[in-house]
Amino acid sequence: MSQVVNAGFPLLTATAAVPALGAVATAAVPAARRTAAKWLALAFSLATLALALVVLVRFEPGGEQYQMAESHAWIADFGVRYELGVDGIAVALIALTALLIPFIILAGWHDADPLAGSDSGSDAGRSYSWRPTQGFFALILMVEAMVVISFEATDVFLFYVFFEAMLIPMYFLIGGFGDRAAPAQFAAGTAGGGDEAAATQRSYAAVKFLLYNLAGGLIMLAAVIGLYAVTADDLGQGTFSLQQIVQARASGDLDLATGTERLLFLGFFFAFAVKAPLWPLHTWLPNAMGESTAPVAVLITAVVDKVGTFAMLRFCLQLFPEASKWATPAILVLSLISIVYGALLAVGQRDIKRLVAYASISHFGFIILGIFAMTTQGQGGATLYMVNHGISTAALMLVAGFLISRRGSRLIADYGGVQKVAPVLAGTFLIGGLATLSLPGLAPFVSEFLVLVGTFSRYPVIGIIATFGIVLAALYVLVLYQRTMTGPVKDEVRHMPDLRIRELVVVAPLIALLLFLGVYPKPLTDIVNPAVDHTLSVVDRHDPKSDVEPVRETEAAK
């Protein structure tokens, strides 16, 4: 065990525990004190953010791989320890999570209020009366806690436990708190009975989400057990400690048969690919994001799904380097398909949220592409991409949510000319969109270009095909913007109010962050790079060298 376990204040545990406590506390608030619950949740999420920032500051990029490590006995019989530790990648993602949750809470401020949406009609008011606000915010905090701890876990079992457990609160968030827009939309779509239809749609989405991910998780469970069995055979006593296994593999104490390693890898990867999601395991995402409220949708795609891609980096690659290399071609192709396919379907969507969902699928394609390109730029870019995609999608989706909450419909066709009546809303929406199409100067560009370069430098053809993604991205974003925001003003939107203060407070910081990370991503890259280098060294891949040694600046001058 190379890491020094710091005996000091268990910062990482605290970072995960605070939101968990917050969840309990929020849930405990009496039903009448709804507003109190909201503020309490917000306070806890901010506290978490503070802790996350402390972690960010305390983390030394130059230091050893896993820092602020904690290690306690947990379930000796399973060879399981409560082992936490963060590398640069984890730190970045924890920061992202902690950062987004307060905005999500703010954005969802009224999503769980007992009364139905403004235009859902009276009957909707009755059947939607069951909206325990406390529950909503408690669940969000619970998800945050679980996500954070699965970013911190360096014990495969510990990670798995929370990787699976986080499905449950997510499930209730998706199934329990539908979009106020849904009824109107269905009233528009299917004549009448919209309310019921919406409810069924929603629970279908929730169940699909849960079963899909559960199936993935269970297959991973088999692999986890298999891993234990293997380690138990070779090391005498089974273990789940990531570092221990990595070291054992490096030192040759633990060498897996090729077949075994590949099977285990596939078991792990399947679960992560479902979570990420990677084509063709993506179909749960559009349903889930479409049916849930915008903040929850953000929670899914910007926070929870990141666990999948993160786990690919931390577990798939480090535990099974050989198998990872073996599977790389197939995975690259799949991610390529995701990129193009997701983008094309986004173009074809009629529903704003589903459009964003498919866009996300395309982006996850980029992330996975970057991870398995196995180059510094690729993986560094992928990590940045996780963060940036989180922020940009949050910005876009939340603004879309505000839009939807105004009109009460998710259909693109129901909008038009919003730009004239609500310029600020339209402006923020556009910026979110531009970030999504990774316009230079905004954060996502940096990561996307890094991924492309990283891929190109090893797999030129794949890199070029992936580049088509940027054209398609422009297509779906601008089409969306044109159809909703420009053109003659539709009567339904004529009296649409512009962004309110609360909503501005949500969006403005995100946009500022997008700009900052677009112009000066160095702080982030400095944190991430060492971790990426380490991963690559474990996988034992090195960046391809440039064909020619360029003339240095000095000579170039003359």
Partner: protein, 550 residues
């Protein structure tokens, strides 16, 4: 003693004076748990006989609680006394084993029955009949349903307080079953805990036809299976010339010392051994509820009074699996290569069939019945590990599972409409909106069944699968995983129903239970979470208890 001499002495010694017969040596201390329970049961009978009606309920309740608690204390005492580990021994002239698994399982059974007694004694749920509180048992089991006699009995406010002693008898049998160290004791114990269960099944207050039907089905099939078991015993006896586990094991391993010519003859005949053990297994697999011997389960679970169902589902499984473990690990380890493949098949079929059929169930109790079948499959996977890990993992799983089951059925008793318990799933729609707490608790149990991490279900499943993988049954793990994925579907379905669908206007109401049921449920939740979050202590317990005495 050599056979010929025996047979001869049989006739000669019979004529002598009886006082020469050596009185059997019984270690009462080590058998205390069983004896206490049986004693309490007998006292219960006397109470029934001599106490006035109104006094009986409380007396019986007190008696059973005290008896079970005392028995549990005795188990703890024995365990503390080291009987679980180094001082493990065979008691009662080789009839009963006192060792780790036995004590662990007895402890589990006693705790479960203790909780079960709470649910038995619950009498706040049913609306008062003629101003008298009534429990979920028939006023007069003998009376024809809906007949004049029954109405009179209800009017008189009769209650079947006999259930308590009957329960105690069953518990007593269950205590012996996993500890039985010879086939005769095994058989007798089986009958001793089966017969009371048959009776209990027939005692429902509501829907008595179903209840009686379940009883008759359970009884006939049970008797049928026990006949198989007995014939198997006979064959094994014929094979080994003895019914003690150790004796048979020796013969199987061929390490037997004095081989009589007769024994030499039968020993050679493996057909006896194979067929015999197979038939004994049939008997046990029936009790376990493994496919294809499972078909009684859904009907009986559905028809029996829900408290009984809970008790049966929880305690019977523990006892039966205990006996199965002992048989396979103590008697038949020598022929592992014969029974393992067969049991593989059984385990796989059980896991899959249980999970798949449950998907389309519409009645909560039936659904739970099928889920219990699927779980039996998972446990079998652990049994098949054929390693000490396997034993301890199975013990742990049993402990975890029994409490979840008990809790789940306790919740089922709460959801009622005019016709008594509303067990049809459609009636559970929107329960989460009517009474979030109940729904949440039930959701916890369902998630535990589904094996979601941080619940006892996950720890247990993980332990069992891990043991199976360690024991070289990786394929079983894969099948198990698939089965759990399928199983997850219908647990989730219930949750969806409770939380995400509109409540029916004529939907059921959730009765407010007495502290008794509340404790039962609370205990269930507590154990579920505790074994989910911090299972280490119990795993240690099971680990220490993982060694059989021979």
């Amino acid at each position: 003693m050599s056979s010929a001499a025996t047979v001869h002495s049989l006739w000669t010694t019979a004529a002598e004076i009886p006082d020469k017969i050596p009185a059997p040596h019984i270690e009462y201390g080590q058998l205390a748990p069983t004896l206490i329970v049986f004693g309490a049961a007998l006292v219960g009978i006397l109470l029934e006989a001599f106490l006035p009606r109104r006094a009986r309920y409380h007396a019986q309740l007190l008696l059973s609680l005290v008896g079970l608690a005392a028995a549990f204390a005795a188990v703890i005492g024995l365990a503390a006394g080291g009987y679980a580990t180094d001082k493990a021994r065979i008691a009662a002239m080789g009839a009963v084993a006192v060792d780790g698994p036995a004590l662990f399982l007895q402890g589990a059974i006693l705790l479960v029955s203790l909780v079960a007694v709470f649910t038995f004694a619950e009498r706040r749920l049913d609306p008062r009949a003629h101003g008298k509180r009534v429990d979920s048992f028939a006023a007069q089991a003998g009376a024809v349903p809906g007949g004049a006699a029954e109405q009179a009995a209800v009017k008189a406010g009769f209650t079947t307080t006999e259930v308590f002693p009957i329960l105690l008898f069953a518990v007593g049998g269950m205590l012996v079953f996993p500890a039985a160290n010879d086939l005769l004791t095994l058989f007798v114990a089986l009958e001793v805990f089966s017969l009371p269960l048959y009776v209990l099944c027939a005692l429902a207050r509501r829907q008595r036809l179903l209840s009686q039907e379940s009883a008759v089905k359970y009884f006939l099939l049970g008797a049928f299976s026990s006949a198989f078991l007995l014939f198997g015993v006979a064959l094994l006896y014929g094979y080994a010339g003895t019914v003690t586990y150790s004796g048979i094991a020796e013969v199987v391993d061929g390490t037997v010392r004095n081989v009589t010519p007769a024994l030499a003859g039968t020993m050679g005949n493996d057909a006896l051994l194979l067929i015999g053990s197979a038939m004994v297994l049939v008997g046990l697999l029936f009790k376990v509820g493994a496919v294809p011997f499972h078909m009684w389960t859904p009907d009986v679970y559905q028809g029996a009074p829900t408290p009984v169902t809970g008790f049966m589902a929880a305690a019977t499984k523990v006892a039966a699996f205990g006996a199965l473990l002992r048989l396979l690990y103590v008697v038949l380890p020598g022929m592992r290569w014969d029974w393992r493949p067969v049991m593989w098949g059984v385990a796989i079929v059980t896991m899959l069939a249980g999970a798949i059929v449950a998907v389309t169930q519409t009645d909560v109790k039936r659904m739970l019945a099928y889920s219990s079948i699927a779980h039996a499959g998972f446990i079998l996977a652990g049994v098949l590990a054929a390693t000490p890990d396997g034993v301890s993992s199975v013990l742990f799983y049993l402990a975890a599972y029994s409490f979840v089951t008990l809790g789940a059925f306790a919740v089922v008793t709460l959801v009622r409409d005019a016709g008594g318990e509303a067990t049809h799933l459609s009636k559970w729609a929107g329960l989460g909106r009517r009474s979030p707490l109940t729904a949440a608790v039930f959701a916890v149990f369902l998630l535990a069944f589904a094996g979601i991490p941080l619940t006892s279900g996950f720890s247990g499943k993980f332990a069992v699968f891990q043991a199976a993988a360690g024991g070289g049954a990786g394929e079983l793990v894969v099948v198990g995983v698939i089965a759990s994925a399928i199983a997850a579907f219908f647990y989730i379905r219930v949750i969806v129903l409770m939380f995400f669908s509109e409540p029916r206007p004529e939907g059921p109401t959730v009765a407010v239970p007495s502290p008794l049921t509340m404790t039962a449920i609370a205990l269930g939740v507590a154990v579920t979470v505790a074994l989910g979050v911090a299972p280490q202590y119990f795993l240690d317990l099971a680990g220490q208890a993982g060694v059989f005495v021979r």
